[in-house]
Assembly symmetry: C2
Homo-oligomer: 197 residues x 2
DNA sequence: CATAATGTAGACAGATCTGTCTGAAGGAGT
DNA sequence: ACTCCTTCAGACAGATCTGTCTACATTATG
């Protein structure tokens, strides 16, 4: 087979996940049909149904992949900082760097959740991601000495979600700076510290 | 016609808009087909295409109706308060009252925007609504004496959007209180005033 | 009464989507 | 060489969706 590299040919599962990630994230879960995914992946339709069982399970696997990637990215960004306060801000800075990517299309879980019917696999995946995010903010808020860590954690999550929405829907390149400034103010108000930075 | 009240029969256009509002908002624009809308409205298919021209225009009219309703509601809530600071908080309180409605399903513009292809009528409608909201927050921030009214206005919009998302996706009845507390802190930080209340 | 406008009921075309199934090709291990 | 297993290519069924069109009923007005 002259056309096939000897070094690497990703499995059908990997190619399907990569294609699903590109198409579902770019255009939405409902807008993209199975046929476009398998064509983009270079995979037969039977392989999709053998591997995942159906579209809903493929969507779930796509969201799980996104979940893992985002957890990795944010965990790394947090690990680079020393104090809980800086670690909270690092989450917003990492998010802000995503806004500049040409393929940025907002939070995959919010987008998928807005389309999906409640109670399905999509909502499960969204719950898992949002729960992780919420716990991260709350833990850092506690480590930073906030009087009410649950309150500050929730406030920061509202800000995080709102920033993702604004970056997606508004024509405004200042979202990252605005959300970081707001986070700084909320942290200062909740911890009694100064808001400089 | 014994089955028809003599006093009132809404026009086909009004019934279509009411049905579209209920179904599109509850289940999403893409999930609801034309047939379900006309059945729910008790209207013939030809009337829909005569009146609106197609589904996209019906969606646009649905969003315009939502826009007008929300502008009315928030304008009234703002008018009941005296100071710019209390007027900003009134926006969040009015939003928080929506969260308790059994049919609450988040922001119609964010939901529709997450499904729609960019550049269409839906994005136009979303831009119009978000622009109005942003200008309201910015104007109130200026009247409250914020050092940077654009910054505070944008921060409050992030919070507003995030609160809507969290109320839709999380199982948490404290969203309204959390967003109001965060707004209080952001206003205080931006105006130099105390954050009590 | 006559006419024009509006709405109703529903068949129909054309496209698209999910999911199933068949038959053949290719690679790995024995 | 032979067999097993994955994969490919694509036809196919069944459902659903948008949009068009025809034929008929209703209502207001000249």
């Amino acid at each position: 087979m002259a056309s096939v590299r000897s070094t690497a040919k990703p499995s059908a599962r990997e190619r399907l996940l990569a294609a699903a990630n590109e198409l579902f994230y770019a255009e939405g879960v409902q807008c993209v049909g199975i046929d476009r995914v398998i064509e983009h992946a270079g995979v037969a339709k039977g392989s999709l149904y053998n591997t995942f069982g159906g579209k809903e399970q493929l969507v779930r696997a796509y969201l799980d992949t996104r979940h893992a990637g985002t957890v990795d990215r944010i965990t790394r960004a947090v690990a680079e900082r020393d104090t809980p306060r800086e670690q909270m801000l690092a989450v917003f800075e990492s998010q802000g760097r995503q806004f500049d990517r040409p393929d940025f299309r907002g939070c995959a879980f919010i987008r998928a959740g807005a389309e999906a019917s409640p109670g399905g696999l999509v909502q499960e995946a969204a719950d898992a991601f949002r729960g992780w995010m919420r716990e991260l903010f709350t833990r850092l808020a506690a480590e930073a000495g906030a009087a009410d860590p649950d309150a500050l954690g929730h406030q920061l999550q509202l800000l995080y979600d709102g920033a993702g929405i604004s970056a997606l829907m508004d024509h405004d390149s200042t979202v990252a700076a605005t959300s970081r400034a707001a986070a700084t103010a909320l942290i200062a108000a909740a911890t009694g510290a100064s808001a400089e930075a």
